[in-house]
Amino acid sequence: MKFGKRLKKQIMESLPEWRDKFLSYKELKKLVRLISAAPSLPAGVREYGKAEAEFVYLLNNEIDKFNNFFMEQEEDFVIRHEALEEKMKEVRERWGPSGSEASETKYGEEMAKIRKDMVDFHGEMVLLVNYSSVNYTGLAKILKKYDKRTGGLLRLPFIQKVLEQPFYATDQISKLVKKCERMIDVVFPAAEEELAEKVKEARDAITVAGEGIFRNTVAALVTIQEIRAGSSTQSAFSLPPLNLSDSHLLHAIHLNPTIPTN
C-alpha cells in the first residue's frame, strides 16, 4: 500500500477532532507533480521558482499547523495530568482506607473511574506522539519525492529544520507518559502474569469497535508496522522493519471497520 493511502487510513482511524490536523500529503504530492511537469526552459525558470516557493510556503504552513495543534494538546495534557494526580489524592483522602469518609465501595467505584481515565489519558498522549511521528514521516517522504522529481536539494536542510520544531520535540510528552505509567502502577492492583494468558485465551474474541482510544492505538501500531515493512525505495534514510516482540498481542485484536463520519 502506498504511504498516501496508509496515511489516509491512519487519519480515519484517529480521533475525530484530530483528523484535519494531519499532513495534507495529497495536496503536496499534487504540487510536486505540477512542479516536475513544468518545462525547464529559460522562460519556465521563473515559473519553477514560483512553484518551489509555493511548495515551501505550503510546507511551512503545515508545520505551523502541527506546532500549534501539538502545543495546544500538550498544554491540555499538562493540565489534565496534574488534575488526575489531584483527583487521586482527593479520592484517597476522602474514601480511602484512612480517609475521612472511608468507604470501600465508593472508593472502588471512584478508583475504577480514575483508572479508566488514566489509561485513556495515557493512550491519548501516546497518540499525540504518534501524530508527531506520522507527520514527520509524511514530511520526510514528500521532501524525498520533491527532490527526486525536481532534482532539488531541499530535503536535507529542510528536514534538519523540521527536527527542531516543537511538534517533533516529544520529549516532554514522553516524560508525562512515563509519569502516567507510574501513577497507573500505583492505582492498579498487582497480578500481571495472567494477562498474557488471558489474551491468548481470548484471542478470537476481542473485537475493538468504535473510535475509541484503544482502537486508535492498535491501528497506529499496525500502521507503523506496515509502513516500515520495507519499500521499493529503501535507502540509507529508511527505517528498518518494525520489531515487535509480542506481535501476537496485536494479531489477537481485530478492528471493526470504521464508519466514515463525513
Binding site: L15, D117, V119, F121, V126, P157, S174, A202, T207, A236
Partner: protein
C-alpha cells in the same frame, strides 16, 4: 584627464542614487547635480573613510565573502535595513578627496562587479535583480524578522556560494585591469542592458520622491541582494533556502505575529501556575492579572495566562470526565463487547490490555524517533564528509601533479583510486547501513568508517616530499580494502 569628468559625473550619480539607498546602475544620462554634491562631499572628514573601512571589516556576515567586502559600498547589499542608513553616510566618503578615491572606488567597483554577478548567476548583472526588486516592492511581504535566519543557514548558503563564486570569478577575470575603466564599463553595461531599469531610475531620481523611497528602497534592495530572494536564475538550493526564510519558520513567525504567540507549557510552569492560583484562592477566584503577577515569568503574557486559566477551570469543573470530552471515547466495556466484562476484575484486565498496547506503541515511537534523528545526523555527517572529500580530491590532484617526478604516476593514480574508492565506500556504507539492525554497533561502525575516510584524506595532504608521499599513498591504497571488509561483515 578626460576620464575624470565622466568619472565624476558617474560618481555623483552614484552618490545621488546611493543617497537613496541604491548603489548601482549609473548612467551618464541620469540627471545629476555634480556641483552641490561635490561641495558637500569635500566637507566630509577623513574619518569617514576609516569609518567605511571599519564598517566593511566589522560586518559579521558569515555567509558570503562577497557580502563582507560589499560592506563599504553596499548599502544595497546590507543584511538589514538599518544598516543601509548607516552606509548612506559612509558612501559619501568615496566622493571626498580625489587622491583617496581611486583606491576606494576601484575596490568598490570590483565589489560592485562581483556582487551583482554572484547573486544573479544566470540573469546578467545588477539591473534585472533590481528591477525585479522594484516590481516586488508593492507586494511588500518581506518579513524583516526572517532576515537573521539567513545567517542561521551557513550550510546551505556555503554550498551555493561555492558554486556561485566560481562563476563570479570567471566573469570577473576579464575585468581586472583598469579599475576606473571597470566602473565605466559596468555602468555602460547597465545602461545598455535594461530599459526598464533606467525608467525605474528616472522615476526614483525625481527629487521629491527620493526621500520617500529611501527607507523602502533600502529594504527592498537588501532583500533582492540576498541569495534566496530571487526566484529567477538561481540554483534551487539558494532559492529554496531563501524562500523558506522568507516565509519564516514557525518560531520566528510566532514572534512577528502579534496576536497569538504560542507558549509551551511545561509541567514546571504549570506547577508555578497552580501555586499562584491556589494563593489567589482557587481557579474560580483567581484573575489572569493576579496570576501573571505572582508567577513572575518573563515571556508569559496575560493572553497565555487567560487561556490557560480557562482550560484549567474546565478541567477542574468536571473532574470525573475531565479527560477531554468523554463523548469521543468509548469505554473499554463498549470496546470489548464480546467479552463478559461485568465484573470489576475483568474491567481492570481490559484496561491492562489497553495499557499494554499503548505502552508498546509508545516504545516503538520512541525507538523510531531515535532512529530518525540518528539517520538524519548520519546523512548530514556523510554529506560533510563527501564535500570535504571533493575539495581535498581537487587539492590532491594539484599536489600530486606538481610535486612528484618519479613515483608521480603511482601516487597520483593511487590517490585517484583511493578517492574513487572512498566514494564507493561511502555509498557502500549507506547500503550496508540500511540492511543492518538498528543498534548502536552498526551506527558506530558507520561513523568509524566515515572517520577513516577523513583520516585517509588528511594523511597524503600533509606530505610534501616524495618518499613519505609514496608511503602515504600506499597506506591509502591499503586502507580502503580493509575498510571494505569491515562493511561487508
Amino acid at each position: 584627464m578626460e576620464a575624470r569628468p565622466a568619472f565624476s559625473i558617474e560618481r555623483s550619480g552614484a552618490k545621488q542614487l546611493s543617497s537613496m539607498g541604491m548603489s548601482g546602475a549609473l548612467s551618464s544620462s541620469l540627471p545629476v547635480h555634480p556641483t552641490p554634491i561635490e561641495e558637500t562631499y569635500s566637507k566630509i572628514p577623513d574619518s569617514q573613510q576609516a569609518f567605511v573601512e571599519k564598517e566593511r571589516l566589522a560586518r559579521p556576515l558569515t555567509h558570503s565573502s562577497h557580502l563582507n567586502s560589499s560592506g563599504a559600498v553596499g548599502h544595497m547589499f546590507s543584511s538589514s535595513p538599518g544598516y543601509s542608513t548607516d552606509l548612506h553616510h559612509s558612501s559619501l566618503s568615496p566622493h571626498g578627496k580625489h587622491s583617496r578615491n581611486p583606491h576606494f572606488i576601484s575596490q568598490s567597483s570590483s565589489n560592485m562587479v562581483s556582487l551583482p554577478l554572484s547573486y544573479s548567476s544566470s540573469s546578467g548583472p545588477l539591473p534585472s535583480t533590481t528591477s525585479s526588486c522594484y516590481s516586488k516592492e508593492s507586494n511588500g511581504s518581506w518579513d524583516a524578522d526572517s532576515m537573521p535566519n539567513i545567517l542561521d543557514f551557513p550550510v546551505n548558503t556555503s554550498i551555493k556560494d561555492s558554486q556561485v563564486e566560481s562563476s563570479a570569478c570567471n566573469i570577473m577575470a576579464p575585468d581586472e585591469d583598469g579599475k576606473k575603466n571597470d566602473w565605466q564599463e559596468w555602468a555602460d553595461q547597465l545602461i545598455n542592458d535594461d530599459d526598464a531599469l533606467t525608467s525605474n531610475w528616472n522615476d526614483i531620481l525625481v527629487d521629491p520622491s527620493i526621500h520617500d523611497l529611501e527607507p523602502k528602497v533600502s529594504c527592498q534592495t537588501s532583500k533582492s541582494s540576498l541569495p534566496g530572494q530571487q526566484p529567477q536564475g538561481h540554483q534551487q538550493l539558494s532559492a529554496s533556502s531563501g524562500e523558506k526564510h522568507g516565509s519564516a519558520p514557525p518560531s520566528s513567525s510566532a514572534n512577528s505575529a502579534p496576536a497569538k504567540p504560542r507558549m509551551r507549557w511545561t509541567p514546571e510552569l504549570h506547577e508555578a501556575f497552580v501555586e499562584a492560583v491556589t494563593k489567589l484562592g482557587g481557579s474560580e477566584r483567581a484573575t489572569p492579572k493576579g496570576v501573571l503577577r505572582l508567577m513572575k515569568v518573563e515571556s508569559l503574557t496575560i493572553y497565555h495566562v487567560k487561556s490557560h486559566l480557562q482550560k484549567y477551570r474546565t478541567a477542574r469543573y468536571r473532574p470525573e470526565s475531565s479527560e477531554g470530552s468523554s463523548e469521543k471515547k468509548l469505554t473499554p466495556i463498549e470496546e470489548m463487547s464480546s467479552l463478559d466484562l461485568k465484573t470489576g476484575i475483568e474491567l481492570t484486565e481490559a484496561l491492562r490490555l489497553q495499557m499494554e498496547v499503548q505502552k508498546r506503541l509508545h516504545e516503538q515511537l520512541e525507538i523510531q524517533r531515535n532512529l530518525q534523528l540518528r539517520i538524519e545526523e548520519q546523512g548530514r555527517y556523510l554529506q560533510m564528509m563527501f564535500e570535504q572529500q571533493c575539495k581535498s580530491g581537487v587539492e590532491k590532484f594539484k599536489a600530486a601533479s606538481s610535486a612528484i617526478e618519479d613515483p608521480s604516476g603511482v601516487s597520483s593514480d593511487a590517490i585517484k583510486d583511493s578517492s574513487a574508492k572512498t566514494e564507493v565506500d561511502v555509498s557502500q556504507v549507506n547500503h550496508s547501513k540500511s540492511g543492518t539492525e538498528p543498534d548502536n554497533n552498526s551506527n558506530a561502525q558507520v561513523e568509524a568508517n566515515s572517520l577513516k575516510v577523513v583520516e585517509n584524506d588528511n594523511a597524503p595532504e600533509s606530505q610534501t616530499s616524495d618518499n613519505p608521499k609514496q608511503g602515504a599513498s600506499e597506506d591509502y591504497v591499503n586502507a580502503p580494502p580493509s575498510k571494505r571488509q569491515r562493511t561487508d561483515e
